[in-house]
Amino acid sequence: MRNLTSPLFAAGLAFFLLVVVAEFEPGAAPMVVGQAILQEAPETTGTANIVTAVVLGYRGIDTLGEIAILFTASLVAGLVLERRGGKRQAQAPAGNVLRISTQLLFPLMLVIGFYIILHGHLTPGGGFQGGVILAAAFFLPLLARPGIQVRHFGLAVTEGLAGSAFIVIGLIALFQGGAFLQPLFGTGSPGQLLSAGSLPILYLVLGLKVGAELAGLLAHLVYEGSET
């Protein structure tokens, strides 16, 4: 039976892919919404990067759902990994190359992470990408000095404050007579650092939340049930 299921699954997948390829004409798809957003986004939201306009301006509630999913995943991972007693894994000390390059790379990665977050409305990138880079930056010292203490309380406070700030900004927009998570504070002139209203604030909050969450998850994976 099991020998039969995998060819069946593969055949079904190949069939659906062939259907998609037969129906799909690249470039000729009727992208009505896409064209409208491309024309309208720079004036209405003031972002130079249209992707940010879609992610935070037009589809902000989808982004809220994404960070909710990420939050749930990291919460469950933390719960499962926390359960195995308080004993810490014995680790071999890190080599010279790792320790010294960590000291060199840590400030650079912080700067790049915050640059990508704060310029999310101007250049490619944004909260998610910058947040992952921040998490990687804070993970490097854990690799370089295995005995280091992780302050999970600080990470949890950062994450909770950032997550609630995202929702509070959305609620402020709601009570000012707009929709939930509608862009606030006007548009400014597109291309400037201080433009696009509340979208850079939302991206900063998002980046801090993603970074704190992923750093906590990685720290949980490295240490066997480290205390809070």
Binding site: A90, A92, P124, A136, L221
Partner: protein, 92 residues
């Protein structure tokens, strides 16, 4: 352009096959990371730099890091540091 794309696709296919056929778990994780890296370059060529950055940061960096850490927790790594800890645990 078409040659670069073709090369990237071939690299991705070879790395994806390597994930299946490698016996060493760490090497398989590294090969999976190569798939994501080539895919991110492909996204860049298709003029989707946002997606390319996400793929490079999450797919090539973070997910392979998480996989490698999970391998270490499961005791499936064969690198020096981890096997040293395993032996220490056995001797205890």
């Amino acid at each position: 352009m078409i040659w670069i794309t073709g090369l990237l696709v071939v690299v991705m296919l070879l790395a994806a096959l390597a994930v299946i056929f490698f016996n060493n778990h760490v090497a398989a994780v590294a090969a999976a990371s190569v798939v994501s890296l080539a895919l991110s370059v492909l996204f860049l060529l298709l003029k989707a730099p946002d997606v390319a950055m996400t793929e490079a940061a999450v797919g090539a960096g973070l997910s392979s890091l998480i996989l490698a850490l999970a391998l270490r927790r499961l005791g499936l790594t064969q690198t020096g540091a981890a096997s040293a800890t395993d032996e220490r645990e056995k001797n205890r």
